[in-house]
Symmetry: D2
Subunit: 380 residues, 4 copies
């Protein structure tokens, strides 16, 4: 077997998430970055590629050029898949074109601006049979997998109550008016879509909730805030949610929660037990029980289900973090792709897919609609 070959769309030098994708894809030694359209400016793309030690001829000035030229390279050389790490409005076109030209896709979230675009991608994936991974990276943490499997195995009993929060403070002041690129596009509806913080982090909250519980949000009442002066997109939100099995709960997210760093946290209460997980301390899963003491699970520690046990890379007590969880999405996608390329059949691996992307985009639109109607209950 050989290493997988990745082409990157977006992610020029200075990009936050492009750098994360590069590091995450390299940790497990399965994937080589072989080409990129790092910028829509050819010169800037080549400059970024050079800093990444890529040959100039494989640094392209547009994703169209990359897809076309790579397609013409010999099979033993051309990229296997694209990683799309652009702002939201630039996910759909590259993903569509990649799929139409036979390339597998890893795409950042939210998947597209509109529900229709997402449905198009879902259909394309079905039609082409190509692999599509969506980087809901928080599902890659071992303790998140443990949480999911404890619930799937009935350890907590029927789920009754949920709480998810995703709190950041980096937009507490209007940094989009300074030279902050990250803030600029995220507060710009033409690039971010109809959701601000909602799309950026609210979708992670939604995905984590549905991933861990195995339940779906059936309806929601959303009250969005726009606290930064001059912002048209939400920078804060609070929701009531009702789940498919009758459970109830709240989702709260914010990018104006002053001083918060990346405080994604979830609490799930079942009839027999409950669990709690905090992204900022990802290596602890707190659980509480009707008749037993409070128990804390750790990666590589005692009494784990298989997925948690196998998704930890190093012995217990050696903290794994954000990049490793992100890498697990790549690793699982990579395993499935390698098997495919070798003509082997493997069970579907554990990573978020195009359908999860559609779900997230529906969530954004439902929340925006609810908010417009003064937080009226809205089906999802």
């Amino acid at each position: 077997m050989r290493k997988l070959r990745m082409g990157m769309i977006g992610g020029g030098i200075g990009s936050f998430i492009g750098d994360v994708h590069r590091k995450a894809s390299s940790i497990d030694g399965m994937i080589d970055l072989v080409c990129g359209a790092f910028s829509s400016n050819d010169e800037r793309s080549k400059k970024s590629g050079k800093a990444l030690f890529l040959p100039e001829e494989r640094c392209y000035g547009s994703f169209q050029e990359m897809i076309e030229k790579e397609k013409q390279l010999p099979e033993g050389e051309r990229m296997d898949f694209v990683a799309i790490v652009t702002p939201n409005h630039m996910h759909f076109e590259p993903a569509k074109m990649a799929l139409e030209n036979g390339f597998h896709v890893v795409c950042d979230k939210p998947m597209t601006l509109t529900v229709e675009e997402s449905e198009t991608l879902v259909n394309l994936v079905k039609k082409t049979g190509l692999l599509f991974a969506l980087t809901h990276n928080y599902t890659g943490y071992p303790m998140v997998k443990q949480a999911r499997d404890m619930i799937a195995n009935g350890d907590l009993g029927t789920i009754r109550k949920v709480q998810v929060q995703y709190l950041q403070g980096w937009l507490a002041t209007e940094v989009e008016k300074t030279d902050n690129k990250q803030a600029a596009w995220r507060t710009d509806p033409s690039k971010s879509g109809v959701g601000g913080a909602l799309g950026d982090i609210g979708t992670h909250a939604e995905n984590l909730l549905e991933f861990i519980t195995g339940l779906s949000i059936s309806e929601m009442a959303a009250d969005l805030g726009r606290f930064g002066q001059g912002r048209t997109l939400d920078d804060d939100g609070n929701m009531l949610v009702r789940l498919s099995n009758g459970a109830k709960g709240t989702i709260s997210f914010s990018q104006i929660a002053t001083g918060e760093e990346n405080n994604l946290a979830i609490r799930i209460y079942g009839e027999k037990g409950s669990l709690e997980w905090h992204q900022e301390e990802p290596n602890k899963l707190y659980t509480r029980w009707l008749d037993e003491p409070f128990k804390v699970f750790t990666p590589g520690g005692n009494s784990l289900y298989e997925a948690a046990a196998s998704s930890s890379r190093i012995p217990s007590g050696h903290p794994e973090g954000y990049l490793e969880a992100f890498a697990t999405v790549y690793r699982n996608f990579g395993k499935e792709l390698m098997a495919r390329l070798e003509g082997n059949t493997v069970p579907a691996q554990d990573y978020p897919r195009v359908e999860d992307g559609l779900r997230g985009v529906k969530f954004i639109h439902a929340a925006v609609e609810s908010d417009k109607n003064n937080a009226a209950w809205t089906k999802l």
Copy 2:
């Protein structure tokens, strides 16, 4: 000066909150329990009194008897105030009668079953000029006072976002069907009123939020749950709230949050900083800032405002808990009462009052109404 003399209504042997009131009122050595109507059964009342080392003649079979007989005792002997520690439906009548007969009152929460009853008490307090303390005991914690004063002093800037949760798990199973008295009356509308967990702990969440922020909830959307089989009262609830200054947030409370003990927690986000406090670790106040490191305040520690500094009883690092915070309500009430009895004028001391009780009862009724209307926004 002399010690204050307290008469207790309710709180017979085996009672949870009666015992708490006795311990809390005794810590500071200012108050003696001198009489009680511990039960509506004369024999049981006397038995309870005996175990508390009280003379038989001051253990009464009803609050009416106690108020009448004590009133006839010489001034140097009769009780100064009553402490009402009965289930909810038995707050109003004793409080009213005590006030009408010249006795000051300490009363547990929620203050009454109906808004009208609460308004009656507010008016009676106004008319008689007697003191009335409501035991929203969580306001007694030094770090809660520090939180309030940091916001009042503008340290956090304009408040934008709030989160309050009060999570317990003791009603996760239907313990009211066993021999659990606490559960029995709390799930019985005739004793608890229209709110279940809502009245029992939701009111603490509301009070804490308004106490710390100095803002009031202007409207709410409440989605209540009744998860325990056969329950007619809520045992869980989630709310969206909007505050008087435009801030937004959530309140979540539950008594079916399996495994949770007494997890009352609050997060407040302002333009310049934010704070976080957890009742189960009451001696830490977490604060986050735009430009400074995360800071933690502790009772007796550095950089406290006066109320926090003076409401700690022992040096920093010697944990104070639930009883001490509860005792602070008694201590502050007691200071004001002592001054009154000595004919001195003192500034109004820092403890929750009859108006806070009215506010809580309004909150219960607004939430129930919102819930009936599928979580429609309801003014408070």
Copy 3:
């Protein structure tokens, strides 16, 4: 039955530990403070007593006067026991005189300045049959009792390794040169004895270690520090210890650990499991196991042994603190004394005794000797 009657020696207004003893003895409603020799100055003693609502005639100008006069009062009126809350050098004489005159004793630690004095008290207690409680208050915490009972029941297997630390920072600067009475006597060998921090907090570390493990320190190598300018007594210390069963470990204590409040913590490692407890978060007992997840025990929570279950006063999640643990020493002493006064036989209750006091004083002297010999191993 009646309430117990306590006479206090030391503890005038402004005293730290006297106030703690008063609060702790009052929480459970079993003990009344009836008299005191709060100061060796008669006027000051009376002034303190007045603030405590005591009649002037029972506020004495010396412990000798108190013991003599109280002895002459009728049995139904005179104090039952003395609480000795003076600086170290004033423990022995009052304790001896109280015992010789038939009064039971509660005494602060370290018990005496010399080993000989301690042995005298041990013998007097044996001879008189009177009760003697030493306020090693940290043994009163429910989770400390749980720790002890887990080890006693073999849950952890044979103990191999121990770590105890007791870190404070209040003597990081030379506050004894300011108007700080607490610092003044603690850094004065004539009042504190041969140990400084060693006697004040090192003895708590020693006691906690032996209490929880059920093992004794057989030898130690102590390296004491005197960091504050001009100090002749230690304000810091580090020790290697070897226990009676072959276990090894360290004790570290300090009053110059800048910024530390009252950080007493212990870790015990056995063949099958281990435990960890922190005084500043006293309501959690952390345990780790060969084959099971990390478990945390809480007062009133699941799976407790009897002593921990019964020594908690309020439901789980309602934090109990320093005063409550201190109160448990009084409560258990009080139960035994009440039974005695009523002529009943009760099993020996769970509180530290005169023998623990002797042990602590031996520990101080052994550490000082070891330190003088450049931390040579010294038997205890």
Copy 4:
């Protein structure tokens, strides 16, 4: 510029630390693994190499073969440096030979079995001018660099007291008697050297202490334990230490601390402030102060010194872990090496060097000597 080319010695499939070195060296995209002597068995080495996607001809059966053959490759192809990830007894020879043949070295710790071997390497590095990095990986954590720089800048004032602990439990039972390779060589003096846990983790404790404080241990009294049946090497140890400036403290390490995972922690107390860091929660640096509240620093957070700020790879709140800290050693080594290869001059980068390796080996031998003399003070 081009990527650096690494050859690995040891680290065949299934190895713990070899895999860590591979992941850590790949994260930043600066280093390619190009060859390896993964095993002293040629076939096993080639099998490991294949799984790592290496060409067969660059998988060697011995480090000698690798060094010789790689030396003969054209400059544009041959490895730039070796990474030595073998058990302790196999560090010296490969390191020596690599240096003698012009290859830079990254080597795991402890550097060698004997002090003489370490001195040989120190001299070779001096003579050849080649780079030598020792993977004391814990120095790579951003908060460890912050701790060092706070002390170097005098924020804490003169250091008075230190505590270091490194606690693991994986040797609590005699797993070396099962099929556990990691345990087998670590408990075997012929492979591990004179120190067991002492060499494996005690040296990390020593290095961290000296790295953060900028002070050196001048003497120590060490009491080592051998608790596992049949072990000749220590599996536990406790030490008193005295530092070059008069500070005092303890080091405690263990691999029989049942249930502990990788609990390396340090506390440093200065005249003006103190700090505390825990490897298992590496993204928090706790600090305490004479006159200010408790403050917590985080990577990417507010108020950091430059080294901490720049050694974090992702925004604050996105946890970085063990691999990232390890990667920072490689990154800094790589930066210096790249500059060297390009003929540029750069300031010495921040990573542990051959002198740190010598220090660690001296520490091991001093501790063993002290222990043999019943924990007598021994100079370091």
